[in-house]
């Protein structure tokens, strides 16, 4: 039975009518850290979709709190079970300290990758473990299902660097997985220790 209002079909055959404008950003999965060594989004597992359904996927990272002072990392899977897709990336950041030190915008070649299978550093340096601190930001992955093109990604992450004066850091890391195999999974982890708490949400963009 269809639902028709004012002559316009809104619902029919168990779904919204195709003429109804719906949101283009769909929440696919939320993972909540709880002393977690990794948080992994794997196509086909636990309701996760990372395939040709969407041409862009967006991860929202919300207050990931680390158990130890370490970097926050991301890896991509291009077949098999390892998160070791070969990447070439850039990394630059702006930082400013609570004591007014810093105030710098610059490239940091210590955290980019050149044809490396390592995880990409999203924060650089070790983030602070104070109870009120966390890591937040966004990672975008474009057209992971393509078997023709390299796969671009970009991240913009806020974190606080541990040190004599806490340092606000805004990190920009981006690049491509230099593979034509599909990317079907994304994994987040700390360089050491666990993610005590926090959430990461995966969205598909229609």
């Amino acid at each position: 039975m269809g639902v028709i209002s004012n002559g316009t079909t809104l619902l029919d055959a168990g779904a919204l009518d195709s003429g109804v404008a719906t949101g283009a950003m769909t929440l696919i999965k939320t993972l909540t850290a709880s002393s977690s060594g990794t948080l992994s989004f794997v196509n086909g597992a636990s309701g996760v979709v990372i395939d040709g359904t969407y041409k862009e996927y967006v991860f929202k990272i919300i207050n990931i709190h680390p158990s130890a002072s370490a970097s926050f990392l991301v890896g991509f899977r291009d077949g098999g079970s390892n998160y070791d897709a070969t990447k070439t990336t850039t990394y630059f950041r702006a930082y400013h300290q609570e004591n007014a030190g810093g105030g710098v915008l610059a490239y940091d070649a210590g955290f980019d990758l050149a044809q490396s299978t390592d995880f990409q550093d999203l924060t650089a340096d070790s983030v602070i473990t104070d109870n009120d601190s966390g890591i937040s930001g966004t990672l975008q992955l474009f057209f992971p299902s393509s078997t023709t093109f390299v796969k671009h990604f970009k991240a913009n992450i806020n974190s606080i660097k541990a040190g004599s004066s806490p340092e606000m850091k805004n990190s920009f890391s981006s690049g491509y997985c230099n593979v034509t195999a599909a990317i079907d999974a994304v994994q987040f982890k700390m360089g050491s220790g666990n993610m005590d708490s926090g959430t990461i949400k995966l969205y598909g963009i229609k």
């Binding site: 209002s5 070439t88 850039t90 070649a109 057209f143 393509s146 093109f149 671009h152």
Partner: protein, 208 residues
């Protein structure tokens, strides 16, 4: 007929009353050896007017077909008439890193002042590799205003570049016109170059 559930009106007068999301897909264009990709208000279901305060274009794996390396994607805005020639002042900066690790830089690049020409969606030429492509996005704010200049903000990734690496490009500015912007066009640098493939999506962002 209204649809009311638990005293809440879900739909009435032919439309839903409840939120179905604030980001609305307006139009998808698939490039296929295309001279350009163009979103024009009032054409092929495209809306670029005061329906939304913010418009977003997603560029996904746009591949430049060229006989030589060094070309790249660019864009422009229409502010009346048929030409894509809105006068723009902009900033651009980019981070570059090559696969051989020889180059790793951050710097200003490609900014323009009061120019009507096309603006770069990236600012580092693409290679001729089959797997090269551009991906990114472009935000356009309040294009229907006849009071204010029109700000735009873009970010893009491109690679492998002609120097075998990746470039992250950030490009922002304003169309220095109080005329409404009603069209956006993407094309390639270099005569004869085409957008061989790619997905271009136009979204509207609701304000209520």
């Amino acid at each position: 007929m209204a649809i009311i559930s638990n005293a809440v009106t879900m739909a009435d007068a032919g439309a839903f009353s409840v939120s179905l999301g604030s980001m609305t897909l307006i139009k998808t264009i698939i490039a296929n050896d295309s001279d350009n990709v163009t979103f024009v208000h009032g054409t092929s279901s495209v809306v670029i007017d005061n329906t939304f305060p913010i418009y977003l274009v997603k560029v996904i794996s746009a591949h430049v077909d060229s006989s030589g390396s060094g070309e790249y994607l660019r864009y422009n805005f229409r502010d009346g008439g048929s030409a894509y020639d809105a006068v723009k002042t902009s900033v651009g900066f980019r981070a570059i890193h090559t696969e051989n690790d020889n180059t790793a830089t951050l710097g200003m690049s490609g900014q323009v002042n009061q120019e009507a020409g096309f603006f770069n969606f990236t600012n580092n030429g693409i290679s001729v590799d089959n797997d090269q492509n551009h991906s990114g996005e472009l935000l356009l704010f309040n294009p229907s205003s006849t009071t204010f200049v029109k700000h735009f903000m873009g970010t893009s990734n491109v690679g492998p570049t002609e120097t075998a690496g990746t470039t992250a490009y950030y490009h922002d500015g304003y169309c220095n016109t109080t005329a409404a912007i009603d069209g956006i066009q993407f094309s390639c640098t270099g005569s004869g170059s085409k957008i061989g493939a790619g997905i271009f999506k136009l979204y509207g962002i609701k304000d209520s």
